[in-house]
């Protein structure tokens, strides 16, 4: 499998480390229902058959964390972008 790193271009998946679902967002720890929301954040994951957004780190390259859109049924890589938002400092 190959992943299009926004810095480094198309690179072999062996250069990347996988973490998992990129759609979950860390809850606000100060929220009143933080325990319940953190439970979901830590333990609950969708397992879709089809396009899915996943966290990959280009460990053997630019070391950036990416959100990679991958079709779990075909392994087609649809897109890859940095997880840090566009407005964030480089």
């Amino acid at each position: 499998m190959r992943i299009p790193c926004p810095y480094c271009g198309w690179r072999d998946a062996q250069e990347f480390a996988y973490l998992g679902d990129a759609t979950v967002e860390r809850p606000d720890p100060a929220a009143a229902d933080a325990p319940a929301r953190f439970h979901d954040y830590v333990y609950l994951r969708e397992n879709p058959a089809g396009p899915h957004s996943e966290l990959w780190r280009h460990s053997a390259g630019c070391r950036q964390w990416l959100a990679v859109r991958r079709d779990t049924t075909t392994h087609e890589i649809i897109a890859a972008e940095f997880v840090r938002g566009r407005g964030a400092r480089r």
């Binding site: 072999d12 480390a17 953190f38 964390w65 890589i77």
Partner: protein, 987 residues
């Protein structure tokens, strides 16, 4: 000799000698082992897998099911090598397999007489009981009788390597379609890789008498290959099998770099595993001829018709003296005509069809070849084929022949097109499966796509090659395809002679007969995947290249379904077997994974260190001295020397992460349970990190080197994981923070110097002007300095041992010099280098947690760090660590243990039960995590996790270790055994 006097694509000026079963034989450069055996009139080459039936050469390619031999000798002996793909070299040694005492007389041939008992499913039906007999009697007996070659038990002496290649268009197969596809893509400007498993490119152009653009097919192929090889944008890989299609246009290929040599060249590997990244690919892998199933169709002398044609035309070797042909299609007729034209004797062309194209029958008559239309071969005889019986409407006739060329039609080699799960589609008009949905970017051309005529193959190749290039933006009007004719290729589906006698084989390699397919049907294993697994049809190393379609066609007929309804089994990589060694490449033995020596490795070697692997690191375990009986004696001496005077250890393996930026303090507050933003410059603090689920992830010290500059240490084991975690936090969770971090583990050598004399020793190596006094650099202080006359250094007054200690970091290249300088400076203090064992003993004596306690199941509270956690800030893991079950005071928590009788040895892994309670799981109250013999106390001590452990100091428990027979009464105590108030640290 059955070598023809002339012709063929062999080099008669280069004779080669080789041996088969000890017999010395001769061949030529350009031969395969199979063609050379045929030229030497060797018909019997092996015994079959299950019934030990005599077998000969069936095919002329990688689909070969029968002619498997042991190649080479000694450590290079390789079993189950297909003689049809082995390129002959001088001195080649080959031997037949699966026979005893000899190939001609094989005792296990008795299995053939037992064949009624050994049919499909015999494993499941026989040997049912007693169960114990399986392991001791049945399995060893079956293993001796069945199976094929013997592996060499010596280490593989050859080298293998892995490589990457990139191209626009990968063309798989260099027959007429492949050559044209490569040429069309290359002429359009695409970067092309052309790969073929053969050592001579051209495919069927080299095996058939044909004309392309007015020249002989083989000459046309040679010219096309020469043109491609001359182009700068083309790489031609011969002897290279593309064996798998993976994701994102990655193709696996095996290049046999040195297999055609007696030994690989000194500077080259034996085989090279390629990972080819191709934007587009054209599969032009041709087609495989199928046998017809009838009694005795496996006898030596029975051969695929196209194979006979290949041996005749390419290798100038006539496989038999009198040859009959038995077919259901036009292709076999051309084989018969080729034999007759070459001066061979064709006994008859037997065709199951009653009507055949007049062009073929007329030419056969003109050459004096007898024609038997509507005929079927019903049986054969002879150890090597002597005769066949043919049934026609006039009755049964016996023909004396020593060769029978059979053809049941052709199966496109569509395997790679199915590697992403696309199911093939059945086409009645050619009686074959053609590729269904191919992997993205893969086009299929020529015979592999079911286009069997030569002109059609050439034209399809040009079209697909141009199409692949055009897709990538290489526009060029393709040249007209070369001139050639499409041969007659009519076929009538026919699988099995119903009225035949004797074992009729479908899968030669696994000895699966038509009767086995019938048994599978009768017993309900009718789905193709069940048929395959119940009968083992297609599960041999040839993966059923010649047998799958026939087997499922017979099943379809039995079940009264069409072949399209029956469907095909799944194709998976590899297309042909690939040695594990090729996948391993360089990663063997000590190179299985990288070794990370520490910066002081050479110094430690000179000190006589015994090394231990910790992850990838190789660290000094202990430093034995003359007269010491065992490791424990050495370790005890190292601990005593350190605690009494001074010792040193390389601590470079701890992960070191450099953090800089305005928000580092705030960032550390969020990843550690305790506070770092308040840490003064020039100070070090111990910290604990949790995972988001609330359990402890790692611990370590972090120093503040400047207003915006921190240096973190992690445990050796978690260095990479923590670094990745911090990057995740910064990039995904808090991109607004101004923090930059990088790993500097490799950049700094760090030596821990410990013991009451540590300051005196350090003073000797530190440059003048650095104040080491307790006031200037107190416990948990940090500063920059220079050592050994100007070498940049960092000093951290930290201690894992519990003694007055410093860690001195210098750029990695100065690590060894620093170790030498400290040894020199410590000579007067009997300085002792110590290893990770002594380090571990001292940390257990001090009650410091390490890997066995940071086991992913412990909370900060379990380990006694509850008070470290700040209640004033949010940090990773805080919310989940607050779950009731994680706050349960009954959870196992850290405690110290000592044997009540003081002489017993403690064992890590022992479980705690109350005194008087049996050692059973329901009485389990925790376990011992770390133990050591304490030189300071003179007895064994342990750390452990015990339910309410920290509240039970003074109580006694059993520490049960049933695996090693240990059962020791222990006393619960504080986990800090030495210097509980930390006075020694602060002097």
């Amino acid at each position: 000799m059955s070598r023809l006097r002339q012709g063929g694509l062999i080099d008669r000026s280069r004779p080669l000698s080789f041996s088969f079963d000890g017999r010395s034989l001769a061949g030529f450069a350009g031969d395969t082992l199979a063609s050379a055996l045929i030229a030497n009139d060797v018909a019997l080459v092996g015994r079959s897998f299950k019934y030990h039936r005599p077998r000969g050469i069936f095919s002329a390619g990688s689909e070969e099911p029968n002619a498997l031999v042991e190649l080479g000798a000694g450590a290079r002996r390789e079993p189950n090598t297909r003689a049809t793909t082995v390129e002959l070299y001088d001195g080649l040694i080959a031997a037949s397999q699966n026979r005893w005492p000899s190939l001609a007389f094989d005792l296990f041939a008795i299995n053939a007489l037992l064949s009624p008992l050994l049919g499909a499913g015999f494993y499941y039906k026989t040997f049912m009981w007693p169960a114990k007999a399986w392991e001791k009697i049945y399995e060893p007996a079956i293993r001796r009788a069945a199976g094929l070659g013997r592996a060499s038990l010596e280490p593989d002496p050859d080298a293998y390597e892995k490589a990457h290649a990139f191209c626009d268009v990968l063309v798989i197969g260099a027959g007429p379609a492949g050559l044209m596809a490569a040429r069309a893509s290359a002429r359009a400007g695409a970067r092309v890789i052309l790969a073929d498993e053969d050592f001579l490119l051209g495919g069927r152009l080299n095996a058939e008498r044909c004309e392309v653009d007015g020249e002989a097919g083989s000459a046309f192929a040679a010219n096309a290959v020469a043109e491609l090889a001359s182009l700068p944008n083309v790489r031609v890989f011969s002897r290279t099998t593309v064996f798998g299609v993976y994701d994102s246009g990655i193709y696996g290929a095996l290049e046999r770099v040195g297999d055609h040599l007696a030994e690989p060249l000194a500077y080259a590997p034996r085989q090279r595993l390629w990972r080819i990244v191709a934007k587009r690919a054209v599969l032009a892998a041709g087609a495989t001829e199928r046998p017809i199933v009838f009694g005795g169709n496996d006898r030596p002398g029975v051969m695929a018709a196209q194979a006979v044609q290949t041996y005749l035309n390419r290798f100038a070797a006539m496989p038999a003296r009198q040859i009959a042909l038995f077919a259901n299609n036009d292709s076999a007729w051309r084989v018969g005509l080729d034999i007759a034209r070459a001066g061979g004797e064709v006994a008859a062309i037997i065709d199951i069809r009653r009507a055949v194209a007049p062009t073929l029958t007329e030419e056969a008559r003109r050459l004096g070849v007898r024609i038997l239309l509507g005929g079927q071969v019903v049986s054969t005889s002879g150890k090597r084929l002597r005769s066949i019986k043919v049934a026609t409407e006039k009755g049964v006739e016996r023909l004396s022949v020593d060769g029978l060329a059979i053809s049941g039609g052709f199966s496109p080699n569509l395997h790679l097109a199915g590697h992403h799960g696309g199911r093939p589609a059945w086409k009645d008009d050619i009686a074959a499966f053609v590729p269904g949905r191919a992997p993205p970017g893969l086009l299929v051309a020529g015979a592999a796509a079911g286009r069997f005529g030569l002109a059609a193959c050439l034209a399809d190749g040009v079209e697909k090659g141009a199409m692949a290039a055009r897709d990538l933006g290489f526009h060029r009007k393709p040249d007209a395809p070369p001139r050639a004719e499409d041969e007659a290729a009519a076929v009538e589906p026919f699988w099995r002679v119903g009225a035949s006698r004797g074992a009729a084989f479908v899968d030669f390699q696994n000895d699966v007969t038509a009767k086995d397919v019938q048994i599978a049907h009768a017993e309900g294993f009718r789905a193709v995947e069940h048929l395959k697994r119940y009968t083992t049809l297609g599960m041999a190393t040839d993966q059923g290249k010649t047998s799958n379609v026939t087997g499922l066609a017979i099943m379809a007929a039995l079940a009264g379904r069409s072949i399209a309804e029956t469907g095909a089994t799944t194709f998976r990589p590899p297309y042909t077997p690939v040695a594990i060694a090729a996948f391993a490449g360089h990663h063997r033995g000590k190179d299985f994974r990288p070794t990370r020596p520490t910066p002081t490795h050479a110094w430690a070697e000179r000190q006589g260190a015994v090394f231990v692997e910790t992850g990838l690191w190789l660290r000094a375990q202990y430093f034995p001295r003359a007269g010491e009986r065992d490791w424990l004696e050495s370790v005890t001496r190292e601990v005593k020397a350190t605690r009494a005077s001074v010792g040193l250890i390389d601590a470079s393996t701890f992960g070191k992460i450099d953090l800089q930026g305005r928000d580092v303090g705030a960032f550390l507050d969020r990843v550690y349970i305790n506070t770092f933003s308040t840490l003064p410059i020039g100070k070090v603090r111990y910290g604990i990190m949790l995972r988001e689920d609330g359990f402890v992830m790692d611990d370590g010290t972090t120093a503040r080197l400047g207003e915006t500059h921190y240096l973190m240490t992690t445990t050796t084991a978690n260095a990479a994981k923590i670094y990745q975690h911090l990057e995740f936090c910064l990039q995904k969770l808090w991109p607004e923070l101004d923090v930059k971090l990088t790993s500097v583990t490799e950049q700094w050598a760090q030596i821990a110097l410990a013991g009451p004399n540590a300051r005196r020793v350090l003073r000797a190596v530190i440059d003048a002007g650095v104040d080491l006094s307790n006031d200037a650099l107190p416990y948990m202080g940090a500063r920059e300095a220079t050592v050994m006359g100007g070498v940049k250094a960092r000093l951290f007054r930290v201690s894992f041992s519990g003694e007055l200690g410093y860690e001195i970091a210098v750029p990695a290249r100065h690590g060894e010099a620093l170790a030498n300088a400290l040894m020199e400076a410590g000579r007067g203090y009997d300085i002792a280098p110590y290893g990770v064992e002594a380090l571990s003993v001292m940390r257990i004596e001090k009650g410091h947690v390490s890997g066995p306690e940071l086991n992913g199941q412990t909370t900060a509270r379990d380990l006694g760090f509850g008070r470290l956690a700040s209640a004033k800030k949010h940090y990773i893991g805080r919310v989940m660590a607050d779950r009731p079950a994680l706050r349960d005071p009954a959870r196992p928590s850290l405690a110290g243990f000592k044997p009540v009788d003081r002489v017993s040895r403690l064992r890590a892994g022992a479980h705690f039960t109350a005194l008087g309670k049996p050692a059973a799981i329901e009485h389990d109250e925790g376990h011992m995590t770390s133990v050591a013999f304490s030189p300071s106390l003179g007895h064994w001590i342990g750390l452990g996790l015990l339910a309410r452990g920290s509240e039970r100091i003074g109580e006694r428990m059993r520490a049960c270790d049933p695996v090693r027979g240990g059962d020791v009464e222990v006393e619960i105590c504080s986990p800090v055994f030495v210097d509980p108030d930390g006075e020694r640290l602060r002097v």
